[in-house]
């Protein structure tokens, strides 16, 4: 098998809260010809919260990660929409804006780095769609889902803002195709492009829940069995968020949430372990019953 190699940028949230996501990616990547090379010493991507405090701090921290990948001579593979947005946007700004680049490089010099603009940033679904290809993903499916009705949750920063997603890479449509090769059905619903509310969790919980409710209402109305996402923030917000909503408004959705990597792993015939099942607050057992063993 020909392997594509990527600098593997894991970020903070996934190792800290969703090791089930990381584990699934590490299990399926080698089987699909993707080699994940660890980025030693890499720091937080500097998301929303950091960008809110200070512009140059954001760029310098994100750029340090880009520099590490540059030194490895590899493009970055990230698993998180927010890491994706932060690293992509920083890469674009520093390539285009010489004055800011010089300012950031003056800071990076203190930690022995310099931004050269020689790396690209991709998210896992990009790599599956563009490098691995639908055909190969499809061939890896050994235990297809039997028409499982899925609400695809792309997450905002997979495609927005358009200006950093040149030519809109995988996008929403491609994610639907990736879901369908597992034998599941991607069901259209009205709030597909809408935000999950996650960024305001911990800052303004009422608003976060109200935004998530709009999304969940729309999914429920479309009659889906479960939600599939590629973003760890969307995962937390839509999974744990359902418990928050239940506590405050008594409304119950009972919609299980899976990472795309988990969906594919199950379809490839690899079972989730007990502790992984338990990281899902809304039980996913009924999804597993829709797998057809070949």
């Amino acid at each position: 098998m020909n392997f594509v190699r990527y600098a593997f940028f894991l970020g903070c949230l996934i190792p800290a809260r969703e090791p089930n996501y990381e584990n699934s990616v590490r299990k399926i990547a080698p089987k699909l010809g993707v080699e994940l090379v660890e980025m030693d010493g890499a720091n937080c991507c500097a998301p929303f919260s950091v960008q809110s405090v200070d512009y140059i701090s954001w760029l310098a921290l994100a750029a340090r990660n880009l520099c590490i990948a540059e030194q490895m001579g590899l493009d970055i593979l990230t698993l998180c929409n927010d890491c994706y947005e932060s690293l992509l946007m920083t890469n674009m700004i520093l390539k285009e804006d010489r004055e800011t680049r010089e300012k950031v490089n003056a800071i990076l010099a203190d930690v022995g780095q310099q931004f050269k603009g020689k790396t690209d940033v991709k998210i896992f679904s990009d790599v599956l769609y563009e490098d691995v290809g639908l055909e190969k993903v499809k061939n890896a499916v050994k235990a297809p889902f039997n028409g499982l009705r899925v609400a695809v949750q792309p997450g905002c920063h997979l495609t927005k803002p358009k200006r950093i997603h040149f030519g809109e890479r995988t996008g929403v449509r491609a994610l639907g195709e990736l879901v369908e090769v597992t034998g599941a059905k991607s069901i259209s619903y009205s709030a597909k492009d809408a935000c999950c509310g996650g960024p305001l969790r911990g800052i303004n919980d009422v608003v976060a829940s109200d935004v998530a409710k709009q999304k969940l209402d729309s999914m429920k109305a479309a009659g889906v069995d479960c939600i599939v996402t590629v973003c760890p923030f969307c995962f937390l917000e839509l999974d744990r968020g359902q418990l928050e909503i239940k506590r405050h408004s008594k409304e119950e959705y009972g919609l299980p949430v899976l990472h795309y990597a988990e969906l594919l792993r199950i379809a490839m015939g690899m079972k989730l372990e007990d502790w992984e099942m338990k990281t899902h607050k809304i039980p996913i057992i009924k999804i597993l019953n829709t797998v057809e063993a070949k």
Partner: protein, 163 residues
């Protein structure tokens, strides 16, 4: 009504990511596409732009107004003017932080970043789970490099509560 600051619009425009305020024509397309504006009346991006244009500096900077936006960037793709209110939100927040206006949730993440190099640190549960499945310890972060950068940008001073 608080006093007007005629230069406020330019202050925002001259803060990184704030340029878009100069292009706003008050059409309201941002508000009609905003997921937060759909659920609460306190957040209205068009009105926020208007407050900036008019120079209502204190009303914008000293209250909760900068902290309702989700940064979903829907408005960025919808704005017919390249007004970029979703981007300008970061300029407004950067300025608000310098006035000491920073929510506890943001502060917690910022402090964690300075201390550990991560905005989110592991729960004990996650560490046990990592151990169980052979993922091992979390990836190593060069905290010293992170702190060097953040001292240089004076980020550490910005997140001190009692400045």
């Amino acid at each position: 009504m608080s006093s007007l600051d005629a230069y406020f619009m330019h202050e925002v425009a001259n803060t990184p990511r704030g340029r878009g305020v100069l292009a706003c024509i008050q059409c309201g397309r941002c508000t009609s596409s905003c997921p937060v504006a759909k659920v609460i009346v306190e957040h209205n991006p068009r009105r926020l732009m208007e407050m900036i244009i008019l120079g209502l500096r204190a009303d914008v900077m000293l209250g909760p107004v900068p902290w309702y936006c989700l940064s979903c960037f829907t408005c960025l793709d919808r704005c017919p003017q390249g007004g970029d209110i979703g981007e300008a939100m970061f300029a407004i927040r950067n300025l608000a932080v310098r006035e000491g206006n920073i929510p506890e949730g943001i502060l917690t993440q910022a402090r964690s970043l300075f201390e550990t190099g991560r905005v989110v640190t592991s729960s004990r549960m996650a560490l046990i789970q990592r151990e169980k499945c052979g993922l091992g310890e979390e990836p190593r972060i060069d905290v010293e490099a992170v702190q060097k950068i953040l001292r240089k940008t004076r980020f550490d001073k910005l997140i001190q509560r009692d400045r």
